[in-house]
């Protein structure tokens, strides 16, 4: 699956700037974060304190997993709620075309 394509399109095929489009993107970001979380990648976030998750500072893969968790966490926390609020606002205030 092309994750980027999925993220930039919508689960429902709705346009980006629509209540459903924003809602879908929020859900996708939350799902992405949930996948990382339940895969146990939270333990790998010690990279942000300069500690290798495996004890080997040269273990690039472990560092990337930690940074992946950090990135999806930030997106889920900062961006997903913004999409959700935008979706609600559009639904409440946008004029039907």
């Amino acid at each position: 699956m092309n994750i980027w394509k999925t993220l930039t399109s919508s689960l429902s095929g709705a346009p980006v700037c629509s209540p459903r489009g924003f809602f879908d993107r929020a859900v996708m970001l939350l799902i992405l974060f949930a996948l990382c979380h339940f895969a146990g990648l939270r333990e790998y976030t010690c990279v942000i304190s300069g500690t290798s998750p495996t004890g080997d500072p040269a273990d690039i893969a472990a560092n990337i997993l930690g940074l992946a968790y950090f990135a999806t966490y930030a997106l889920a926390l900062l961006l997903a709620p913004v999409f959700l609020i935008a979706s609600i606002l559009l639904r409440l205030f946008a004029r039907p075309s």
Partner: protein, 404 residues
């Protein structure tokens, strides 16, 4: 437009998800619940539960100092916890003794470089024989705080020996500071050394008030960075600047110096707060370097998070500074940031921060329980100073030579 409105609504509010009731992490009496949970995780490490010591080994892979400092901060924390809840002392004293004994044994058997970074062996220490105040100061403070909880005859003699070593070497140094690494004197280590000497004075009836006064006078003359008024973090034995003020040194130095000269320590804390504190969207963190005198990253600062310039080392130790000086507003913002970006993992009665490591968690624990030990020592320090007592008898040390 809708996205912008969403951001305007959400971003100023989301910190409220992470703001905690201060009683969770700071109480006047007793042990705060967050500290109890963090301590439980650390006790598991030292109880040798399966895989727990791997946490320590992970850190040694990056920096052997962190292994040592995790021990120090945890023992200091346990001592304060025992003073807060005397009933817990019977459980915590054996853990403290075990850590201290193992640390001293490793230092003796594996040599002083075991807990230092590899470059410690790249040049000779100017003061011979080799001693690092990084080790002497923290081990002395471990023994001293342990003895504050309950006397221990073995540690009495060992503490005296380390204190005499530090004092003798400070007196031979032009800046009253001692090497942590070859020709490198670190504020962090020397301020811990001073605090350990102060604790020893309280325990054993000695008086190094004259040394403390001269140390502060010398520091004000020779170790202050002029743009910020903050103490330098590293300098040579002759007082030449190596590193300007750093967050990973100054917060803890202010904490330790509060036992030596409370007004000077408070001034340093307020300056550090002015130059290093960052408040963003309801969260607080700290820079490693003031904007006025930027430095370059090293293992002490930890990784610097781009854009924010957040230093894990400086931010972690800012908890200690803020707790020492009762800075509730800063502390609340720091704890909110910790819950946001520390990635807490709670497992029954235990807590650890995945974004941190064992030394980071030990520093956080110390920030939540510090206070009683310093209060006990400070309460007995109104007597006037006198000349330094001479090291004598069985405590007499090997003669110290200073190499040019």
């Amino acid at each position: 437009m809708a996205l912008l409105a969403g951001a305007v609504i959400w971003l100023p509010l989301f910190h409220l998800l992470f703001v905690e009731n201060p009683e969770v992490y700071r109480t006047e009496a007793g042990i705060p619940p967050k500290a109890k949970a963090l301590a439980a995780s650390h006790i598991a490490i030292w109880a040798d539960e399966a895989g727990s010591r791997a946490e320590i080994e992970k850190m040694r892979g990056r920096n052997a100092e962190w292994d040592f400092m995790a021990r120090s901060f945890f023992v200091w924390s346990l001592a304060n916890m025992a003073l807060r809840e005397p009933g817990s002392a019977s459980a915590t004293l054996p853990i403290m003794d075990r850590i201290i004994d193992e640390t001293v044994r490793l230092e003796r058997d594996r040599g002083p470089f075991f807990f230092l970074m590899p470059y410690a062996g790249s040049a000779p220490f100017r003061m011979q024989p080799v001693r690092s105040i990084f080790l002497d100061g923290e081990i002395a403070l471990m023994m001293g705080l342990r003895r504050l909880v309950s006397e221990h005859a073995g540690y009495r003699a060992q503490l005296r020996e380390r204190v005499d070593t530090m004092v003798e070497r400070m007196e031979k140094s032009p800046i009253l500071c001692v090497e942590s690494y070859p020709n490198e004197c670190w504020l962090f280590c020397n301020s811990i050394g001073l605090a350990a000497i102060r604790v020893s004075d309280h325990l054993d009836g000695t008086d190094h008030g004259d040394l403390f006064r001269r140390w502060v006078e010398t520091a004000k003359k020779k170790l202050i960075e002029p743009k910020t008024g903050l103490l330098l973090s590293a300098f040579t034995l002759d007082g030449d600047v190596m590193d300007g003020p750093e967050g990973s040194s100054i917060w803890l130095a202010a904490h330790c110096l509060s036992l030596i000269d409370p007004a000077f320590a408070a001034d340093q804390y307020l300056r550090a707060r002015q130059y290093l504190r960052v408040r963003l969207a309801g969260f607080d963190y700290a820079w490693e370097w003031p904007r006025e005198c930027p430095g370059s990253g090293d293992v002490d600062s930890g990784p610097i998070i781009p854009l924010l310039d957040l230093s894990a080392g400086s931010t972690g130790l800012a908890f200690v500074g803020a707790a020492t000086f009762g800075d509730g507003e800063f502390l609340q913002g720091l704890h909110a940031a910790l819950e946001l970006g520390g990635f807490p993992i709670r497992n029954r009665d235990r807590l650890k921060y995945a974004g941190s490591n064992a030394v980071g968690d030990a520093v956080l624990l110390y920030s939540m329980v510090l206070g009683p030990a310093w209060d006990v020592v400070a309460s007995s320090l109104s007597r006037s100073s006198s000349a330094l007592p001479a090291a004598s008898g069985s405590h007499r040390l090997l003669p110290v030579e200073v190499q040019p």
